[in-house]
């Protein structure tokens, strides 16, 4: 584990993060990254703030309902001696997370958070800011691969683009004012994942994918696991500066469509495509201006800085698209597992703080994680079941059973559809 990557411009190695505050806990990103960081034993305290109830089952993260009131945030940060802030709120995946509501946290929330963690006696040593590749925009003068020092070639035009630009500007200013802090900006490109919702994914989920006639833009993706991984990596290591988070490889839209096994539908005219996209919106297809611009110009990111800082991407862009295809095919079988967890404040508090709760054996601690070892079949007559029968059964299993089944399958028949279905279910339950 190298604490200082090859590019450690002026950053002193910050001590290991032990007390972490996550903003936007109720969003997909905040909740999932909290689940990931809970597994890190070195982190003592995890505090999550948001305005809505968390949607993810969390073991030890403490939830505080607070908006973007800087004096309250400041009190929380001082009281809990928070040393690391992870700000996930700005535009979950480019646009509003459909489950939370259409409202964007916006740049004001970032500003007040920065105000809350600044100051002479602040315990904060590290600030990790999740930004978006919308920072670079998409235009005809763009280089084929944006690296971190580059700027967008055109002025921001939409509210979303301004939010990203101003948010990053505020963070940069904060970094300049507090040279002792490690400030990391992660610019994530379009993320692909089973539970994510974004206009890009909505477009790709259609039976035929609309595109602009005469244009075949280059798109790049990142798998949601890599976004989470990069956020956790930034918390666990010292990465000063901006980093692009994007999987290896840039795909053409036509290539993506054929990987998904669909057909392209060039219905948008090359001129006036924004106007035409508004007409598509009437049919229930969200087509924001940014998406139309992506359909025309596309964008590629240079991810080499994050890679040379030591992070290893798990999926390339192409592999992320292949995962998306598997998800598209499995979705009718699995249904939506959205309401599997509901946050009950009293229950959570009881489980965390009541003296009556005995420290039970961690269910995940004993689950066999090592692959390649032959295990007894967790379901009777497991080996006689067909793939389709298995898929029907999987949804009704407990998480521990699923982990056993996963290990068994990995050790034995290694059927791809079964493994993918198990992974997806486990991911959904926060495994």
């Amino acid at each position: 584990m190298s604490t200082s990557g090859p590019i450690s411009s002026g950053g002193h190695p910050t001590p290991r993060s032990r007390r972490v505050l996550i903003t936007g806990l109720s969003s997909q990103w905040g909740g999932r990254v909290a689940q990931l960081l809970e597994q890190d034993e070195a982190i003592d305290v995890l505090v999550g703030v948001d305005t809505a109830d968390p949607r993810h089952e969390l073991e030890r993260t403490e939830f505080v309902r607070v908006g973007s009131d800087d004096s309250l945030l400041r009190r929380i940060i001082r009281a809990a001696a928070i040393d690391t802030i992870l700000d996930t709120r700005l535009l979950p995946d480019g646009f509003a997370d459909a489950n939370v509501g259409k409202e964007l946290a916006g740049v004001d929330a970032t500003r007040s958070l920065l105000a809350a963690c600044g100051g002479e006696d602040s315990p904060v040593r590290k600030f990790v800011f999740k930004s978006s590749a919308d920072y670079y925009g998409a235009g005809k003068d763009d280089p084929s691969f944006f690296s971190e020092e580059m700027m967008r070639t055109r002025m921001p035009r939409t509210a979303l683009e301004w939010d990203v630009a101003l948010g990053e500007a505020a963070v940069n200013e904060f970094a300049a004012d507090n040279p002792g802090l490690t400030v990391t900006t992660l610019r994530c490109t379009t993320a692909v994942g089973s539970d994510l919702r974004s206009p890009h994914l909505a477009l790709l989920a259609l039976p035929m994918v609309p595109s602009i006639l005469g244009f075949d833009p280059r798109w790049q993706f990142v798998h949601e696991d890599d976004v989470l991984g990069a956020m956790a990596y930034a918390v666990q290591h010292t990465l000063p500066g901006a980093y692009n988070v994007a999987g290896d490889g840039v795909l053409a839209l036509s290539e993506i469509v054929s990987l998904l096994g669909k057909a392209p539908l060039p219905v948008l005219p090359p001129w006036g495509s924004v106007f035409a996209s508004r007409q598509l919106r009437r049919f229930g297809l969200p087509m924001p201006v940014e998406l139309v611009r992506d359909l025309r110009h596309g964008r590629g990111l240079d991810n080499r800085r994050l890679k040379s800082a030591g992070y290893r991407f798990r999926y390339t862009s192409r592999e992320a698209v292949l995962r998306l295809r598997a998800h598209h095919r499995l979705q009718p079988l699995l249904g939506s597992g959205d309401d599997s967890y509901r946050y009950e404040r009293e229950v959570e508090e009881f489980l965390r703080w009541s003296p009556s709760v005995r420290p039970a054996l961690e269910p995940g601690a004993e689950a066999p994680s090592g692959e390649g070892r032959k295990t007894a079949a967790p379901i009777s007559a497991y080996d006689e079941l067909t793939v389709a029968e298995l898929l029907a059964v999987i949804g009704s299993l407990e998480a521990t059973q699923m982990r056993e089944l996963r290990a068994h399958e990995a050790a034995g028949p290694r059927r791809k559809a079964v493994l993918e279905a198990l992974d997806q279910q486990l991911m959904r339950r926060g495994g």
């Binding site: 070639t153 840039v250 040379s308």
Partner: protein, 294 residues
């Protein structure tokens, strides 16, 4: 789609040049982090399609190269076997078929199988990439937008061969009576990219393509929104004899500490290359007996 918003190109380019010069230089480890090639893919990360390129090469380009324009190549041995290099050619004629002919010459190598050829990436202008359909095809055929950052990645990181036409867009709309007179190089930043990547510059003199794809008149005063200027030319190339002459590479490795920051030096280099190309062009035009037969 409104295209009249303020473009920050100049500032953007400057920042790219400055930042990349200061920060990226000396970071050769970044080269090792280039994404690997996924075997199942038909496209490169730049958007080039092997299938489309091979198809065009086997049909149109082969026909033009061997039978229609009967391309004759000199000095192909100056193309290095490994490492990046920037090829600088005189822009001649409509439709960038001359770029395709040079690419084919480089791909064939010296012939006879003794020296296998190399792939040549062509830096294209934005004017073409914005035309619906055409831009798509150009990208599929291996065109890359002529942006200094793209050239840096290709030349330095990927050690590729790149062809540029530094005369800029205006050159292909010059009328027929101005043929074979080089314009002042507009795209100095492309030469600076080669200086920064420390790769040699190979001038390429092209004779014949101006007659093969002539421009009779240019209606640039109309300022049409999409194309910029309408040029009256021919829909198909004429069967003029085309000669390519690759010149001795000009080294950029010994120009000092950080030569790309010195725009004056780049201008001097540009003038040197331009003079060399002009000299060779006049020599080749003077030596040919017939436009069509060579």
């Amino acid at each position: 789609m409104g295209e009249d918003e303020p473009a920050l190109t100049a500032a953007g380019t400057e920042i790219v040049t400055r930042q990349a010069a200061g920060e990226l230089d000396g970071h050769e480890p970044l080269r090792e982090q280039l994404p690997g090639i996924e075997a199942d893919r038909n496209l490169t990360d730049w958007g080039q399609s092997q299938r489309v390129t091979a198809l065009a090469d086997a049909t149109v380009m082969r026909f033009l190269f061997d039978y229609w324009n009967r391309v004759e190549v000199e000095g192909i041995e100056w193309i290095p076997r490994t490492g990046g290099a920037l090829l600088v050619a005189n822009r001649a004629g409509q439709l960038r078929l001359d770029a395709g002919l040079i690419a084919k010459a480089v791909a064939q190598g010296s012939g006879g199988g003794s020296q296998s050829g190399r792939h040549l990436q062509v830096a294209t202008s934005r004017t073409y990439s914005e035309v619906p359909g055409l831009g798509m095809v150009v990208t599929k055929l291996g065109g890359v937008l002529a942006h200094p950052a793209n050239l840096q990645r290709l030349l330095f990181d990927e050690q590729a061969l790149v062809l540029v036409f530094p005369e800029g867009d205006g050159a292909s709309s010059k009328p027929l009576r101005w043929r074979y007179r080089l314009r002042k190089f507009e795209r100095i930043e492309l030469l600076q990219a080669a200086m920064r990547a420390r790769v040699p510059i190979i001038p390429v003199a092209v004779v014949g393509s101006e007659e093969a794809m002539p421009t009779f008149a240019s209606l640039s005063a109309l300022k049409l929104p999409l194309i910029g200027s309408v040029r009256l030319g021919l829909p198909l190339p004429l069967p003029a004899k085309v000669r390519l002459r690759f010149l001795k590479p000009i080294s950029t490795g010994d120009l000092g500490e950080a030569p790309w920051r010195d725009r004056t030096l780049a201008h001097e280099l540009a003038e040197e290359i331009r003079g060399l190309l002009q000299e060779n062009l006049f020599e080749m035009v003077a030596a040919r007996r017939s436009v069509w037969l060579g």
